[in-house]
């Protein structure tokens, strides 16, 4: 049976990398805070002298957007758009380095062309549980986005790479990942008290994190959130992690020169201060490159007929 347009209203399927990744899945990780293991002692707030940023300094981020759900009567497929991009700081200037945009059809077996839009097939791994089809499709889209991000990040040579979300990719040079929301708890209760006394520009000592065979060093740092003292101290927290290799201690100190300077202002950004300035700019750019949601929806609606014709019997 042919694929038919099932729904175009997918606003709830939209999300950005950081939010999705630092959400629920992280909480299920390998038994924290029980296996908490500090890398630095004593357990108290730490400061560091300002250091110049390393160059080139890359920021990589991605976006995903579900654009339509198709149905052939038995199965569902999700048409979506994923984008990843990098900005680079070099010679005192932050500029857009690269963006990549792909359209994918999660659950499709063949490429689908609708007007000028081409959706590449991305088959689902194994049959999803019936109740969770949409979640599985969404997960597929997220994977496509992560893949695109990692591919783009892998091509960046030298310097320091900063990624939105946990560090997953293996990279030759140093890499920092930052997590904006804190559903998962890493600290035992007696150590957590330090978090609420951190002042802007201070961090906790490093502690060890193990994830899927990866050894990481992580720490919390406090971003400035003007006006100080109005919001709860936790709202300015950022968790940063880096692979446990090389001089990760120096990276922890560098992070105090880096992240507070790039914190966004609450007047301008509802996700302040954790949504970093260059990343905010990059995200705006990415959504521009993904095209207007309305225009895409109209193209899809207009080409419904060719949908069934092309995929006749598919």
């Amino acid at each position: 049976m042919a694929w038919r347009l099932y729904s175009l209203d997918l606003s709830r399927l939209e999300g950005t990398a950081g939010e999705v990744l630092s959400g629920a899945p992280e909480g299920a990780e390998e038994g924290y805070p029980a296996s908490f293991q500090p890398l630095e002692e004593p357990w108290e707030a730490r400061r560091a002298d300002p250091v110049p940023w390393p160059e080139p300094l890359y920021f990589v981020d991605g976006r995903e957007r579900g654009e339509a759900v198709l149905s052939d009567g038995r199965r569902l497929a999700l048409l979506g758009c994923v984008a990843a991009g990098a900005v680079v700081y070099q010679q005192g200037n932050m500029r857009l380095l690269e963006t990549r945009v792909r359209r994918v059809g999660v659950g499709l077996e063949e490429a689908l062309r609708l007007g000028e839009l081409v959706y590449e097939p991305l088959p689902l791994e194994g049959p999803p549980s019936p109740g969770d089809v949409l979640t599985a499709l969404q997960e597929g889209l997220r994977k496509a986005r992560t893949l695109l991000e990692e591919k783009l990040a892998g091509a960046l040579a030298g310097g320091l790479l900063v990624v939105d979300g946990p560090v997953r990719l293996r990279r030759q040079g140093p890499v920092l990942g930052y997590i904006k929301t804190h559903w998962a708890r890493y600290l035992p209760e007696d150590r957590e008290a330090l978090l609420s006394t951190l002042k802007p520009g201070e961090r906790t000592p490093m502690f060890r994190v193990r994830r899927k065979g990866q050894e990481l060093a992580s720490w919390y740092l406090r971003l400035p959130l003007p006006p100080e003292g109005v919001r709860p101290p936790e709202s300015g927290l950022l968790r940063v992690e880096t692979p446990l290799q090389g001089d990760f201690g120096a990276l922890a100190d560098l992070s105090l020169s880096l992240f507070p300077a790039l914190a966004s202002h609450p007047v301008k950004d509802p996700r302040a201060p954790q949504n970093l300035l260059p990343v905010g700019g990059l995200e705006r750019e990415l959504s521009r490159r993904m095209g207007s949601r309305e225009v895409v929806a109209r193209i899809l609606a207009r080409h419904q007929d060719s949908l069934s014709a092309d995929q006749g019997g598919g």
Partner: protein, 577 residues
């Protein structure tokens, strides 16, 4: 062709205006001319020519003004947009469909520029009518269509601008240079120019080379097709010095080659110049009537007389001032303007003793207060024009239509306002009357600054009548007015309105907002406030947008210090022998 950008799609592109996004290192400035090619299968190729009238740069997508600080600190990536608004001047062929967003935009050069500015249309059956009018910003020559200046399709030039920034007079003289020597005007050798020098002695050195004329400026003249030389054939006339026996021109910086001008009493009476002493005619209609009547009486009185003095037979001895003389027929000789005034006073009001009345044939049934008002005004004018209207010497009024000189500069700077009015009014009415009678074939260009004084919007005067006549009928008679003023809003609408070519130099901010300048697009009105020296905005009927034009440094001296002294043996010989 140099590609400069593409037509924007985010903003509407219309056949008459569109926006351009400038690419890469491209440079697009105000006044640059561009060309875009459009295509539609039913029409074929269409080319849009236009002029940039707005350029802007902005950080795209940033919603906060303070984002720029973050961008400068290198904290956010920004996208810089460089856009320009284009007003279309021409579409070839005239198919008014919009250009496609994304169409390539090119700088218009050479042939394209000529099309954009309608230069190709500036010709008649006898040849090109492209009159060099200065340089465009791009360095190419700007032309205006002579047919809109010489009276064929339109005539007259009006120049506005505040004084002191070398726009009005300098541009007017430059235009004259172009008219007389570019060989675009037919029979230019027959054209005559009447220039009034209203301030200082700026125009008294038109025939002297300028010391400060640089080689580059000379080259500019050559590119315009003009010789970098002063005016060749100029006659300078200045009013005589007051209170001196001999007739010497009242000038300070130029001592040689200036002739004094004046009218004798007979010329004054015969030509009917009396009304030009009364500049407030409208204020009293009875007075106006009386002026006309007395003018006519004087004309009849002077009939057949040779001058310079006016002979009158009906002034009894007892009333005479001491220095009055008689001719052999016993008639009284009026030898000065004040004599004439006293004579008129006697004729209108009777003897000074207060007994008796005026001559009935002169008073024209006017009430005594009117007669007294008339006499009062006449008396007060003795001081102002007594040296211009005299009975002691044969008159020598300026006459631009006779003699061999092409350009006639008439100095007014030292005259009182009434004297200036009198000279301008007398000369223009005389000149216009001669052209009306067909006494001179060639064209006559009249350059007059301070039009607001001679043709004010709210007042009536005999001079305004003459100027209106010239403005409205002059172009068919071959009298072309190149008028100037600081503020066009204060000049009679019909005088400004009849000028086909409008020129604007630097304007006062309040003045630029007045309706008289609405023909200028906003960007030009704004720029009129900051125009530098040597630049004007030129508007002509055929081109829908004004041109910002730079004109070369004068090749003639504009003051004594600028005169390039000619010390060659030949020049000295001319001087001494």
């Amino acid at each position: 062709m140099e590609r400069i950008g593409v037509v924007l799609g985010r903003r509407e592109a219309t056949p008459l205006e569109f926006w351009v996004g400038v690419e890469g290192e491209g440079l697009l400035r105000l006044d640059d001319l561009v060309v875009v090619e459009g295509f539609h299968p039913k029409v074929g190729k269409v080319r849009y020519f236009g002029m940039v009238d707005l350029v802007a740069k902005a950080h795209e997508g940033e919603s906060f003004d303070t984002d720029v600080f973050l961008a400068v600190q290198g904290k956010i990536p920004v996208s810089l947009a460089y856009v320009a608004h284009v007003s279309v001047t021409r579409i070839v062929p005239e198919e008014f469909f919009p250009p496609d967003p994304g169409s390539a935009v090119y700088l218009a050069r050479e042939e394209d520029l000529e099309l954009a500015l309608y230069y190709d249309a500036m010709k008649n059956q006898r040849g090109s009518t492209k009159l060099p009018a200065g340089f465009l910003k791009s360095g190419e020559v700007a032309y205006l269509n002579l047919e809109f200046l010489n009276g064929v399709k339109g005539g007259h030039v009006n120049i506005s601008g505040i004084s002191g920034v070398a726009a009005k007079t300098s541009y007017a003289t430059f235009l004259l240079k172009s008219l007389l020597e570019s060989e675009v005007l037919e029979e230019a050798h027959q054209a005559r120019v009447l220039l009034f020098n209203v301030k200082g002695e700026d125009l008294l050195f038109l025939d002297k080379p300028n010391l400060r004329l640089s080689e580059e400026a000379k080259e500019e003249y050559r590119r315009l097709g003009l010789p970098p030389t002063p005016f060749g054939s100029v006659r300078f006339l200045a009013p005589p010095k007051k209170g001196e026996e001999g007739i010497l021109p009242d000038v300070e910086t130029r001592l040689e080659g200036v002739k004094a001008y004046h009218w004798d009493l007979v010329q004054f009476a015969q030509k009917g110049l009396l009304p030009f002493l009364f500049t407030d005619k409208g204020a009293l209609t009875n007075l106006g009537f009386l002026v006309a009547h007395v003018t006519e009486k004087l004309r009849r009185l002077a009939e057949g007389q040779k001058g310079p003095h006016l002979l009158v037979a009906d002034w009894p001895g007892g009333e005479l001032p001491e220095d009055i003389t008689f001719d052999d027929l016993g008639r009284v000789r009026l030898k000065s303007f004040s004599d004439l005034v006293r004579y008129l006073e006697y004729k209108l009001l009777g003897p000074e003793t207060g007994e008796g009345e005026g001559d009935r044939t002169w008073v024209a049934r006017q009430a005594r207060p009117t007669l007294e008002a008339f006499v009062r005004r006449l008396r007060s004018s003795v001081e102002n024009v007594g040296h211009l209207i005299r009975g002691d010497r044969k008159g020598n009024p300026p006459d631009p239509l006779s003699g061999s000189h092409q350009v006639h500069v008439v100095d007014l700077a030292k005259l009182s306002p009434q004297g200036q009015m009198f000279v301008v009014g007398s000369l223009l009415s005389d000149l216009f009357a001669k052209k009306e009678r067909g006494q001179y074939r060639g064209r006559v260009f009249v350059v007059l600054d301070e039009l607001n004084k001679y043709a004010p919007r709210d007042e009536e005067s005999p001079i305004k009548d003459v100027l209106l006549d010239i403005a409205e009928r002059g172009r068919s008679l071959g009298v072309i007015l190149i008028g100037a003023q600081q503020t066009a809003s204060e000049v009679e609408r019909r005088v400004v309105g009849n000028a086909a070519i409008r020129v604007v130099g630097r304007l006062d901010a309040a003045e630029a907002e007045r309706p008289e300048y609405r023909y200028l697009p906003t960007s030009f009105r704004q720029r009129a406030l900051i125009l530098p020296q040597g630049m004007v905005i030129l508007h002509q009927p055929e081109i829908p947008v004004p041109l910002l034009v730079r004109f070369p440094f004068p090749a003639w001296a504009t003051k004594r210090e600028e005169v390039l002294e000619d010390n060659s043996a030949e020049a000295l010989r001319r001087e001494f022998f």
